[in-house]
């Protein structure tokens, strides 16, 4: 273990390096001890509160020890559906501590974490940066026993996954599960083709082509990419930035992981295309911490592109186009997928969204005009440059051109990645994935819509069911309320807490739902659920807060019969708690039992 003083002093005295320093200290010491907080603050001329503020924002940083082996077990709904409860118990029993704790000897820490992008191979966990998928209680016990003998977790990966997961630089047990290769992302691609093509055009032509292709952002928001690039190019500035958002954190999505694993060069060429179009010379890949195991390989692809002159001072021989890409890592925070929060994080601060306007295309990374694009969007842009807008528009629907990568998980025979043309119906997707008796499909992850069976003819397209690509399928034996509670827990955990409605409101919404599922609900409570959810939707500051009540609002709308059945139709009001039950212990201690109407004493 390297001493943290050396780690800190080696770094430049730039506040933008704060998260990188914290990351190194955390990796070396298992936490950021108080003495390191002071040292970092002194080194960067920040207040200690600033340093602690950054450490405590991110899930994978901690002020207190998390163990020499730190287990982060995924909490996404498919993890529970695949047996997370038993796996968690096995970890706890074998390690001798509960989740949220570290063993007394400091060897093992057990923690829960939000979706790590492995929804098609749950339950999964990250242990000291190494991903373990398809865990069983037996495997969990085996892992803990191996940790107790001091083995390196990387040596515990028994079998590697397919494709580049087997590469020497990755060596991951992760599976790609590519079920359907479509014509855009997985169509034939000659390395270097997009870069060579783009430098032969004028930047304005490139933007025109992307606009004509009607390429809409693939992260889920669907903003026109060509327009974003045009806004960014029009800003008067000495320098501009391309930032690739590789922070897919929506529970259920994993499509970008497969691009980062199998098609990194296509992605980087897409960044070059964007850089050329907007007039940038620097690109930044913001890689979610959960995918850090791919970083070494991504760096090596960048290195080979530099050797091929596809990056560097004169890209593809263009005398005036200089462009290079660097990688920055996240540290465990869903909200950092929001573009302005991502930029805050990339600049070394707490990943809290900025107030907009100004938008990143005006004032973005380091105060410069910046285009932030999703991984899939940039890959698609590279293909549009090579094959042209008409080719792209020939696929999909009139309003949603091209194809979409869908991350399919849950109750189906073939979970995994599907590249399909926009416009297919939910039912068609279910047929392809082998889900015969689905009763609900979550399209777009928890922030999206829960689609009921009678709406399975609805189409996956921006004009009907827009989605970043997460599709979670639920069979009729699933309890919808448990699913909704899991999604609400996710938003409660991942809220940055900046604004009131998101910070406070979601806990209140979940409590109200628990009142109903606990058998104390009335019609009035259903009305409250809807009204409170609408306050959070309307009043929250960023996209996270504005979509956070969706698990409740969309199921209230689409599954009203389940909610109606859960409440007492005749009661006008019921208290939030049972008074007799709540005072029972105190009454017993006092040696008397109160005579309360409706109270259940024993």
């Amino acid at each position: 273990m390297e001493h943290y003083q050396e780690i800190i002093s080696r770094r430049p005295r730039e506040a933008a390096d704060l998260l990188e320093i914290i990351r190194d200290v955390q990796a070396s010491a298992g936490c950021v001890p108080e003495a390191a907080v002071s040292e970092i603050a002194r080194h960067l001329n920040l207040s200690e509160a600033d340093v602690r503020g950054a450490v405590t924002f991110y899930h994978f940083f901690s002020l207190s020890p998390r163990g020499r082996y730190t287990v982060y077990l995924n909490t996404s709904i498919t993890s529970w559906m695949a047996g997370r409860a038993d796996v968690a118990r096995a970890f706890e029993e074998e390690a001798g501590c509960l989740f949220g704790e570290t063993t007394p000897d400091g060897l093992i820490g057990l923690f829960s974490t939000s979706c790590i992008g492995m929804n098609d191979q749950e339950p999964s966990a990250i242990i000291n940066g190494t991903v373990f998928t398809r865990l069983t209680p037996q495997k969990a016990r085996h892992l803990v026993r191996a940790m107790k003998t001091g083995r390196d977790v990387r040596d515990l990966v028994a079998e590697y996954g397919d494709g580049a997961n087997q590469s020497d630089l990755v060596r991951a047990m992760v599976s790609n599960n590519i079920r359907r290769r479509g014509p855009v992302i997985f169509g034939p691609f000659e390395p270097g083709a997009a870069v060579r093509k783009v430098v032969s055009c004028a930047p304005e032509e490139v933007i025109r082509e992307i606009k004509e292709a009607n390429l809409l952002g693939r992260g889920g928001a669907g903003f026109p990419t060509g327009l974003k690039w045009e806004f960014c190019r029009k800003e008067k500035a000495g320098s501009r930035y391309v930032v690739c958002n590789a922070d897919e954190g929506e529970p259920g999505t994993f499509k970008d992981r497969i691009i980062l694993t199998e098609l990194p060069q296509l992605l980087f060429e897409g960044m070059v295309v964007a850089g050329y179009a907007i007039g940038a010379s620097e690109g930044l890949l913001y890689l979610r911490s959960e995918y850090s195991y791919l970083r070494a390989r991504l760096e090596s692809v960048l290195e080979s592109m530099r050797r091929e002159k596809l990056l560097g001072p004169e890209v593809a021989g263009h005398p005036r186009f200089r462009f290079d890409i660097s990688i920055v890592s996240g540290a465990g925070s869903y909200v950092c997928g929001e573009e302005s929060a991502l930029l805050e994080s990339a600049e070394g601060r707490r990943g809290e969204p900025r107030n907009r306007p100004p938008f990143p295309v005006e004032i973005g990374y380091r105060g410069r005009p910046t285009t932030v694009n999703n991984v899939e969007t940039l890959c698609t842009a590279a293909k549009v440059v090579v094959h042209g807008a008409p080719w792209f528009r020939s696929m999909g629907t009139a309003k949603s051109s091209g194809t979409k990568l869908l991350s399919v998980s849950g109750d189906c025979e073939r979970p995994g990645l599907y590249e399909l043309e926009f416009g297919l119906s939910v039912q068609e997707l279910l047929d392809i994935a082998g889900a015969r008796d689905a009763f609900a499909v979550q399209v777009g992850g928890p922030s999206g819509t829960c689609v009921p069976r009678q709406d399975f003819r609805r189409k996956i397209a921006f004009e009907d069911l827009p989605t970043g690509g997460a599709v979670i399928i639920f069979g009729p034996w699933r309890n919808l309320f448990e699913i909704v509670k899991n999604f609400m827990d996710f938003f409660i955990e991942e809220s940055c807490g900046w604004c009131t409605p998101c910070r406070v409101g979601n806990s209140l919404l979940k409590q109200k739902l628990e009142k109903i599922t606990g058998g104390r609900g009335t019609r009035r409570d259903l009305n409250d659920l809807e009204a409170w959810g609408k306050v959070i939707r309307a009043m929250s500051r960023c996209g996270l807060g504005q979509t956070s009540p969706n698990p409740i609002l969309t199921t209230l709308q689409n599954f009203p019969e389940l909610y109606e059945a859960a409440v007492d139709p005749k009661a006008d009001f019921a208290a939030d708690f049972d008074l007799g039950e709540a005072t029972l212990e105190a009454a017993r201690l006092a040696g008397r039992l109160p005579e309360l109407e409706g109270a259940s004493h024993d």
């Binding site: 107030n355 955990e493 809220s495 807490g497 409605p501």
Partner: protein, 234 residues
């Protein structure tokens, strides 16, 4: 300065280009309630009480720049009730015991509750367990009352510009963290200013809490919003 035309609740006004909706409203003597906002500090849009509606879209008037022709809705029933919700959320989130609070009568959260005629919140009290932090010989931090407005984060700085108050954690665990060493260097005057800037009784100057008796405090003289109006309808 170019003036641009806009409307608030159907009435026509003019304001200077580049102003926020809140500034433009204020310049035209239209009251929009605020809490985290503070004159001279960069707006953060954290409390959301100043939210208005423009063409069906909700936006915080403290951070949104006015555009020509905007039709701003503010004193409408449903919006006012959403604001009331937010105030109630702030009350149930912490532990606000007005009768024993040093800031009673000077507290903007309390004053807004009066303006919005809040008798009891619609939400269940959360009764969080929070500490009182004895910061320095002059200051203490009453976490029970903090509403995360970030006024202290923005206004109380060390001589070299470093932040003394910084948010810690996230989600409902978010709280204000303090650099103890830097806080100890605050002068009497700066400590008093820190207390006065806090809209509630979270940052307290020790030993002066009740120097001005209740009954002769800021909002004892007149309601928040200044217009002495009835406040929004219920």
């Amino acid at each position: 300065m170019t003036k641009i035309a806009f409307t608030i609740d159907g009435r026509s006004y003019k304001a200077e280009a580049g102003q926020t909706i809140l500034q433009a409203a204020k310049a035209n003597d239209v009251y929009i309630p605020t809490l985290c906002n503070y004159d001279g500090l960069k707006p953060v849009g954290s409390c959301r009480i100043c939210t208005v509606r423009v063409s069906g879209r909700y936006m915080a008037s403290c951070t949104q720049i006015l555009a020509a022709g905007m039709a701003v809705e503010t004193s409408v029933l449903d919006l006012e009730d959403m604001r009331r919700s937010i105030i109630e959320m702030l009350f149930v989130e912490g532990n606000h015991m007005c009768p024993m609070c040093e800031k009673s009568g000077n507290c903007e959260l309390q004053a807004l509750a009066y303006r919005y005629q809040i008798m009891a919140p619609r939400f269940p009290y959360q009764f969080p367990v929070r500490r009182i932090e004895p910061l320095t010989s002059k200051l203490m931090l009453e976490h029970n009352r903090c509403i995360e407005c970030q006024r202290c984060v923005r206004s109380v700085l060390a001589k070299d510009g470093r932040r003394i108050f910084v948010p810690q954690n996230r989600s409902k665990h978010r709280k204000i963290g303090v650099d103890a060493a830097l806080a100890a260097e605050l002068t009497d005057e700066e400590a008093r200013k820190a207390m006065d800037t806090c809209p509630v009784g979270a940052i307290l100057r020790k030993e002066v809490g009740f120097a001005v008796p209740i009954g002769r405090r800021k909002f004892d003289a007149g309601p928040i919003g200044g217009d002495a109006g009835q406040g929004p309808q219920r």
